[in-house]
C-alpha cells in the first residue's frame, strides 16, 4: 500500500487496463456530482453560504493559535482530556498510551482520515492491538487490506461481487452473494457484536468549537455514536484546522458539508460531544503533522480550510478516470494533491501534475479553496526544487521553445498533421504517452491559422 516507488501515471495505467471498470467508476462519481448540483441548486442562498463559510475559515486560519487555546480551555473545563501531537508518530504513541493505561487490547474506530494519514491501524497492529473499522466502506477495504480510495466513499472502487467474495471469506456469507441489502445486514450483525464488546472507541472530528469546547462528528451509519456511547474510553483525533469559532457557525457548515459530499440535505447524525458521560473517559488528540508548515506557505495555506466533503474528487476528470489509489496518499483527488506535497515534496512530486487544471474542483469547493491554482503553483515549486521527473522537464522545455516562436509553432503544426495523416503508426505507438488508452485523432487538412488566412482573404 505504500506507493513510494510508483507514481500517479504508473498507478493510473494499472487502473486504466479495465476500460469497463473505468467507465463505471467515472459514471458513478459523476452521478454523485450531479446529486450535489441538484441539492445545491435547491438552495437560493448557496453561493452566499459558500462565501460565508470561506470567510469564517479565513478568520480561523488567521487566529488559529488563539482559537486552539480557547478550545482547549473549554474542553478541559468540560472534563475532556486534551493531548497535543506534533506528528503522526506522537499521535499514534498517545493513542497507544491511553489504551495501555486502561488495559485495552481491542478498539473500534469510526471514519477518521487523520488516522489514515498517521497509519494508526498499522502502528497499533504492530503493538499487538486489534482495531476494527466500523464504517461499512472502511470495514470493506480493511478486510481487503487496502487503504480507502475516497475520503467519503472508501470503497467506491469496489464492485458488489468483490465485496461479496470478501464477506464470504471473512464473514461467512454464502459464495456468490452480491445483494447490497444482504451484505449490509451481514456487516450490521458482525459490527454490532464489535460495538457491544469494545471498551474503547476512536472517532474523527468534523468540527471543534472554540467557544464551547465541544466537537461534532457526522455519520450516516450511526457507527461513531454506537462506538462512543458504549465504550468506557472515547478518543477523538482531530487536525488543528478543524476549529470553528462559534457554535452558531455550525449552521453554515452543516448545510454545506453533506450537500457538497453526496447531495443529502444533512447526514443522519450530527452529534455534539461536549462532556464525557458519567464514568467515561473522553480524550481529544490535537494533531499538527505538517499543518503549521502549510500555514507558513502563503500560496498553499488556504488548503487548510478543507472540510473533507470530497466534492473536488467527484467532479475531477482525472480522479474519476484514474481511481483514488493512484494518488498513493491517504487523501486522494485534487485536495490530496495539494496537501500531500507539503508532507513530502519528493514522494508526492507527481500529484500536482495529475490534473487538467480545468478548475472544476475550485468551482464546487464549499469553502472556496483555489484548488486548481494551487495545483499550478505546486508544479512550479516542484520543478524549481528539482523534483519534477526528467521527461516532463524536457517536454516543458520543448514546449517553451515551440510556443515562443510563431515560425517554429507553424512548422511543428504542419509536421504533426503530416505525420498523423501519412504515417499514423509513428505516433500511434507505445512511445507516445498520449496514445495510451486513446486513439490519436484524424489530422485536419489545414490548421485554423491557414483556414482563417484563406477565408479572410476571400471576403
Amino acid at each position: 500500500m505504500d506507493g513510494a516507488t510508483q507514481t500517479h501515471p504508473e498507478l493510473s495505467e494499472i487502473f486504466n487496463k479495465d476500460e469497463e471498470r473505468v467507465d463505471w467508476h467515472d459514471e458513478t462519481l459523476w452521478w454523485i456530482r450531479q446529486k450535489r448540483d441538484k441539492s445545491a441548486h435547491s438552495i437560493p442562498e448557496w453561493e452566499q453560504l459558500r462565501e460565508t463559510a470561506s470567510q469564517i475559515k479565513n478568520n480561523v486560519l488567521s487566529d488559529l493559535s488563539a482559537y486552539l487555546v480557547s478550545f482547549e480551555e473549554k474542553a478541559l473545563a468540560n472534563g475532556i482530556i486534551v493531548h497535543w501531537a506534533a506528528d503522526a508518530a506522537e499521535h499514534n504513541r498517545i493513542v497507544h498510551g491511553i489504551l495501555k493505561e486502561n488495559g485495552i487490547q481491542q478498539m473500534v474506530k469510526s471514519k477518521s482520515m487523520l488516522t489514515e494519514e498517521c497509519h494508526l491501524n498499522e502502528y497499533l497492529e504492530q503493538q499487538g492491538l486489534d482495531v476494527i473499522d466500523s464504517d461499512l466502506g472502511e470495514r470493506i477495504v480493511q478486510l481487503a487490506k487496502e487503504p480507502p480510495s475516497h475520503i467519503v466513499l472508501p470503497c467506491i472502487h469496489k464492485k458488489k461481487e468483490e465485496i461479496g467474495d470478501l464477506f464470504h471469506i471473512h464473514l461467512g456469507v454464502p459464495a456468490g452473494t452480491s445483494d447490497p441489502q444482504i451484505l449490509t445486514e451481514t456487516a450490521r450483525q458482525h459490527l454490532r457484536e464489535t460495538f457491544l464488546t469494545r471498551r474503547a472507541a476512536l472517532t474523527g472530528v468534523n468540527f471543534a468549537i472554540a467557544e464551547t469546547g465541544e466537537f461534532v462528528v457526522c455519520t450516516n451509519e450511526g457507527n461513531a455514536d454506537m462506538g462512543a456511547h458504549l465504550a468506557d474510553v472515547h478518543i477523538a483525533s482531530m487536525g488543528i484546522e478543524k476549529i470553528i469559532p462559534e457554535r452558531r457557525h455550525l449552521g453554515v457548515f452543516l448545510r454545506l458539508l453533506t450537500r457538497s459530499a453526496t447531495g443529502q440535505p444533512i447526514t443522519t447524525y450530527s452529534s455534539h460531544f461536549k462532556k464525557p458521560r458519567p464514568g467515561q473517559q473522553m480524550h481529544i488528540v490535537i494533531v499538527d503533522n505538517g499543518r503549521t508548515i502549510q500555514m507558513g506557505r502563503e500560496d498553499f495555506r488556504n488548503s487548510l480550510k478543507c472540510i473533507r466533503c470530497g466534492a473536488c474528487m467527484n467532479t475531477c476528470p482525472v480522479y474519476r478516470r484514474s481511481g483514488g489509489h493512484s494518488y498513493h496518499n491517504a487523501i486522494s483527488g485534487p485536495i490530496g494533491a495539494i496537501l500531500a506535497p507539503n508532507l513530502d515534496m519528493k514522494k508526492y512530486a507527481d500529484l500536482p501534475f495529475a490534473s487538467t487544471l480545468c478548475g472544476s474542483c475550485s468551482n464546487v469547493c464549499p469553502v472556496k479553496i483555489d484548488i486548481h491554482q494551487q495545483l499550478y503553483k505546486w508544479r512550479q515549486v516542484i520543478v524549481k526544487e528539482g523534483y519534477a521527473d526528467s521527461t516532463k522537464k524536457i517536454g516543458m522545455q520543448l514546449m517553451t521553445f515551440t510556443l515562443s516562436s510563431p515560425a517554429v509553432y507553424r512548422t511543428a503544426g504542419k509536421a504533426g498533421r503530416w505525420f498523423l495523416k501519412h504515417v499514423p503508426f509513428a505516433v500511434n505507438n507505445k512511445f507516445n504517452p498520449w496514445y495510451k488508452q486513446r486513439d490519436m485523432p484524424e489530422a485536419p487538412a489545414e490548421s485554423f491559422g491557414e483556414w482563417y488566412k484563406k477565408n479572410v482573404k476571400k471576403s
Partner: protein, 195 residues
C-alpha cells in the same frame, strides 16, 4: 511540549488577522409551510410521518406498526401505558441492546432537512437513540424552524453533555451507491407530528 511548539509555529506562520463575517443572515422564503416542508424532507430520506390531531392517537398506531416487537421503551412520560413501558435507567448502556422500539421527544425540528435536535436529558441514555432497532419521534409542530441557522439561534448557548441532530433512519450507500436503510443505528424512523 508539542502544545507549545504547535502554538508558537502557528503564531509565527498564521496570516494577519481577518475579521469574521458580521452577520449570518440569509435569504429565506417567508411563505414556506414549515410542516409540509418538514414532512416532505422526512419522507424523502425514508422516515414514516403521521400527522395526528392529538397525543391520544399515537399509542394505538405504535401498537399497530410494531405488533411483534418485544421491548418498547418510552422516554416520554405522557406516552406511557401497559403496552408502552417507561424508560428505566440502567447505568450500563449495553443493557439496552435488545430494545426494539424507543420513543423520544426532540426539542427542535428543522424543516429544510427534517433533522431533529435532541439533547441528552431527553435520550434516557446516550446510546438509546442509536442502539434501538426502530426509533419513534414525537414532534410538536410548534418546534419547527425553517433552517439550521434558526435552529442554532434557538439552541443559543444551551448547556448539555451530549446532543445530536437526527435525520431519518441510519443508512449507508457504501456498496455500489445502493441505498440501504439500517446501517448500525435504527432501521426505521417514525415521526408523529401534532399540535
Amino acid at each position: 511540549m508539542s502544545r507549545d511548539k504547535i502554538l508558537a509555529a502557528l503564531r509565527q506562520n498564521q496570516p494577519e488577522k481577518v475579521a469574521l463575517p458580521t452577520t449570518l443572515s440569509f435569504e429565506r422564503d417567508v411563505n414556506l409551510n414549515l410542516a409540509e416542508k418538514f414532512k416532505a424532507m422526512a419522507e424523502g430520506i425514508g422516515s414514516k410521518v403521521y400527522m395526528v390531531a392529538g397525543f391520544g392517537e399515537i399509542g394505538p398506531v405504535i401498537g399497530m406498526d410494531f405488533p411483534s416487537e418485544k421491548r418498547i421503551v418510552s422516554t416520554v412520560p405522557e406516552l406511557v401505558s401497559a403496552a408502552i413501558p417507561a424508560f428505566v435507567l440502567d447505568a450500563d448502556p449495553h443493557t439496552y441492546e435488545d430494545v426494539d422500539v424507543a420513543i423520544f421527544k426532540p426539542r427542535i425540528a428543522v424543516a429544510e432537512n427534517s433533522a431533529l435536535w435532541i439533547t441528552e436529558d431527553r435520550m434516557g441514555v446516550r446510546a438509546l437513540p442509536f442502539i434501538t432497532q426502530h426509533i419513534v419521534m414525537l414532534v410538536d409542530i410548534a418546534l419547527l424552524v425553517p433552517d439550521m441557522h434558526a435552529a442554532y439561534e434557538k439552541i443559543g448557548s444551551a448547556d448539555y453533555g451530549f446532543s445530536t441532530f437526527i435525520a431519518g433512519p441510519s443508512k449507508t450507500a457504501d456498496i455500489e451507491q445502493s441505498l440501504v436503510l439500517g446501517a448500525h443505528g435504527p432501521r426505521s424512523m417514525t415521526i408523529f407530528m401534532y399540535s
